[in-house]
Every structure is written in structure tokens, then in C-alpha cells.
Amino acid sequence: MTALAPSLPQRLGLRMSLAARGVDTLTLLMLPAAAFLLLLFVYPFLYGLWISFQPKEGGAFANYGRFFSDPFLYDTIWSTLRLALPVTLVNLLIAVPIALRVRLMRRQRVLTTILVIPITLGTVLVAQGLLNYLGPQGWFNRTLMAAHLISSPVRLLHNYWGVFLSLLITGLPFTFLLTLSYVSGVDPALENAAATLGAGAPSRFRTILLPLLLPGLAITFCLSFVQAFSVFPSAVLLGAPSGPTRVISLAAYEAAFEQYDYGLASAIAMIMGAVQLGVVVVVLAGRGLLYRGASGGKG
């Protein structure tokens, strides 16, 4: 500041013009928090990007070249997408009808409180719970066998389905609560008007609710997908971490903390971020193609 303002009148002038634009001592209160994030969020990201181009051996792109030439590494993109996309879609398809029903309830709080529990407990606890519950001697298989639906226990652990179900248990409440906040934002009068004009429930949904909800649902899809794509503990504990559920975050973790190749680990983290961003961009662009016009007012 002092370097900018050599004499007192000028300094006052600078101060006042800054204050007129909204910059004064009060504004500076945000500096510690912003500086902290620059240091521990933005800088590590840039540093990671930089060291990903500084491989242990080879040219600048050797880390990326290695990732895309080794099936053990590049297959992780596919195996993670194979988990995250269906789970996100299923979560959204279940969450929307439930949210549309729950918004009509007066006492939503009991339900939302119950659904917040799995989110709060987190993936590690859900993994341990599912290890008990879905195991060959667990209640789930026992119930199915007692009901004579199956003759021998279904194998739901240490394969694709274990991870899928754990992502369903933690992901569905997350998707539902986000959807509910968008669904509650739609004015019920619009639907009532359509009903008065004789529209049935399916056509009310298609012509009134869906266009209004689409922007919110697209964002919900993106947030849920990004969460599912970064699955880590449940893929190790409930999946087959050396086989079909070798997810991309596991590959990055192994590169960093088992091979101590931070360049490769950062390259994998960057690729992970790029794939997430790619899907988000595709979804948001698709939303723009499907529907143009005023959004639900949450934009």
C-alpha cells in the first residue's frame, strides 16, 4: 500500500477510491482465509501439475504417456466410470420420484434426518457394515434364502456389486437431499394450474416439472457423479482392488505412497480431475441442448 501511495493526499485519494469500489479494512477480513486456500489448495494443484511434467525418466509427457500405454493404469478410468455412471444414474432415478413425493409431506424432517445418517457415518463405516450384512452368513442372504428366492448365498462382496451397493447407500441420500432442495423450489401453483387444465400426473411431470427441474438435476448429477468417481475406501474394502474395482484414485494412491512416484501420482490425479470435468461439461452442455429458457431460479 505504501509503495503505491507516495504522499498523503494521494494516499487518502487512493483509500477513498478503493473504499468506493468496496475495498476497505473490512474487505481485508477475507484475506487470511483466501491466502490459506491459495497456499493449500491452489498452490498444491499448480505444483502437482508442474511435477506431473517432471517424470523420473523420459520427456515432459512421460508420465502421461506411461499412464495411457499401461492397461493396468488406463483401465482404471474405465473401471471407475463403469461404477460411477450407473450408480449416479440409478441414484438420480430413485431420488427424483421420492423427492417429488416427499415435498408434499409436512413432516419431512424425520426422513431427512434418517437419510443424513449414512452420509455422516461415511464410507469406511458403511463398508464394515456391509461386510457383515451382505456376507454369505449375513442377514441379507439369510433373508433371501429363508424366502426361498435363492438356494445358495449370492456373492455380493469383494466384487463390483459390493462397491456398487456401498455407493448406493451413501450416494442415494446425498442425491436425494440435493434433489429435494431443487424440487421444493418449484412453485406448487404451477402444477395445480396444469392439473386444473386437465393434465394428468405423467404429462404434468413431463411438461411442467421436468423442464423446471432439469438445470437442478443436471447439477445434482454432476455433484453425485464426481463423488462416486472419487470412490476410494469402499473400492478397497468391499471390492476387488486388484481386479474389476481397481479405481483411479487407488492407482493414484499406489503411485504416491507405495512407489513414491509423486510425478506419476500427480499426473493420475490430474487425469482423474480431467475426466470428472469432462463428464460435468458433457452433462451441462447436454442440458443446454435439451432445454433453453428461464431456469428454476436456482442458477
Binding site: 469500489r21 468496496g22 475495498v23 476497505d24 473490512l26 474487505t27 477480513l29 477475507m30 482465509a33 483466501a34 490459506f36 486456500l37 493449500l40 489448495f41 498444491p44 494443484f45 505444483y47 502437482g48 420420484p97 421420492i98 413425493r101 431427512t112 434426518t113 434418517i114 443424513v116 452420509i119 455422516t120 457415518l121 461415511g122 469406511v124 463405516l125 464394515q128 457394515g129 461386510l131 457383515n132 450384512y133 442377514w139 441379507f140 447407500i169 442415494l172 437431499l177 406448487p188 395445480n192 392439473a195 386444473t196 400426473a201 472419487s230 475406501p233 474394502l237 484414485s249 494412491y253 504416491a256 505412497f257 509423486y262 501420482a265 500427480s266 490425479a269 482423474m272 480431475g273 470428472q276
Partner: protein
Amino acid sequence: MVQRPSWLARLWVTAVWALVGFFILNLFAMIATVVLDSFASRWLGTWLPLGWTTRWYGSAWDEFQLGDVLIVTFEAVFLVVLISGLLGVPAAYALARRDFPGKRLVMLLFLLPLLIPPITYGIPMATVLYQAGFAGSLSGVVMANLVPTVPFVVLVMIPFIEQIDPRIEAAARVFGANTPRLFLHVLLPLLLPGVLAALLLVLVRTIAMFELTFLTAGPTSQTLVVALYYAVFAAGVRAVQSIDAMAVIYMATTLVWLVLALRFVNPTQIVGRAKRA
């Protein structure tokens, strides 16, 4: 609501509620197996355990050094809550009260750590923390956990501060209150409910934050959730009941604070952090 109670509509409603019921039933059954197993003397191939005991809690406490782990957990969580409050609340106040050039960029800076999953930014961040010598100790764990919690406090507090009328502060100024008195007698009492709610949510999230703690913790700075992960990972070394006893202790520590937090906030706020996105 105008509704035609056709059988199709009723079937649809029933199906939706059946789905909700099925999900909640499975959720509770899953939690119940953990709790029951932690009190089971032996549970193999039957619907319920053969006998009951509390000895697994003692053995889990000793085997996993839960005393130390709990102390580390509370130290880390306390520091994270304190520092994210000290950094986040003033920043939220500045952002709620002032409009300045580049504000959108600053908002983006506070939004990104909440939108990007921890494991994506955690690996480069852990690398930096290891090279700076912080990772592997409590300070590294605290720093890593602050990355999502500071923006969380900021984004929860901004709407809360915006709904406080700035004329109240102006009135206090007119009556001659200086900045410390204004803060102590006017702002603090007004902000306290919001700060309390935000910090309780930070507390719950930090106890359950696995990825960032996992990437930065050393052997002496493991929090409860990371210790639980290692125990489940090495299943077979210890009795399952012992791991389940630890899981119950973890659940209890998390849910106590969740119940407390829910007295002040709406459950949707726990995920609805990115509403403005």
C-alpha cells in the same frame, strides 16, 4: 393438490414408499449387524448371536490403542473447528457486507474445494505437505482438513450474515461504539447461532473425513476413522467383533455430534452446501 385417486396413481405412491422403506430397512439392518456383533460372544451361521458379552470393547480399546486415537481425534477436530471458525467467519463477514472487484473469483476459490472431491486434490496437497514436513503429524492432518472446512464455514455463514440488518451495526456506531465493542456486544450475539451451527457441522464432517486424514496422517496422528479403515483393511488379524466394537465407538462419537447439530440446522444443510453453484 388436485389428484385423481386412480389405482395406477395409488400403485405408484405405494411403490415409491416401498422403495423408501426398503432402503431404510437395509440401512438400519446394516447398522444393527455392526452393533449386535460388537456384543456377540459368537455369531456364525445363525440369525442372532449365540451369547452376549461386552469384552470386545475392552479388547478393541487395547488392541487399537483407542485411548490415544481418541485423544488425537479430538485434538485434530478441536483445532480444525477453532481455526476454520477464526478464518472462515471474518471472511464470510467481508464477503456478505462488501462488493468488490474480483469477488466472483474469490467466491469461486471458496466454492471449488467443496465441489472437487478430496481424493482428487488430496494427492498433490499431501505431496506438498510431505515436502514441507507437515504431513505425518497432527499439524499436517489439521491443515489438510481445513481445506474443505474453511470454505464450508464461509459459504454457510454468508447467507446467515446477509440476513442481519446492517443498520443495527450502523446504529451501534452512531451511539459511539468502537469496533471491539461493536463486535463484542452487537455482532457476536447476533452471529453466535450461525457460527455454532456451522462449527458443529464442521465437527461432524471432520470426525468422518477419511480421505484427507488418511493421506496426511502418520502412525501417531491417525484419527478414529483412519484407524477403523486400517482395522477393516487388515481384517482377519483381529476378531471381527473387536473391529465392530471400534466401529460402534466411531458411530457413537459421530452421531452424538450429529444429533446435537440437528437441533440447530436442517439436515439438508449437510449436503446443501453447494446450492449457489
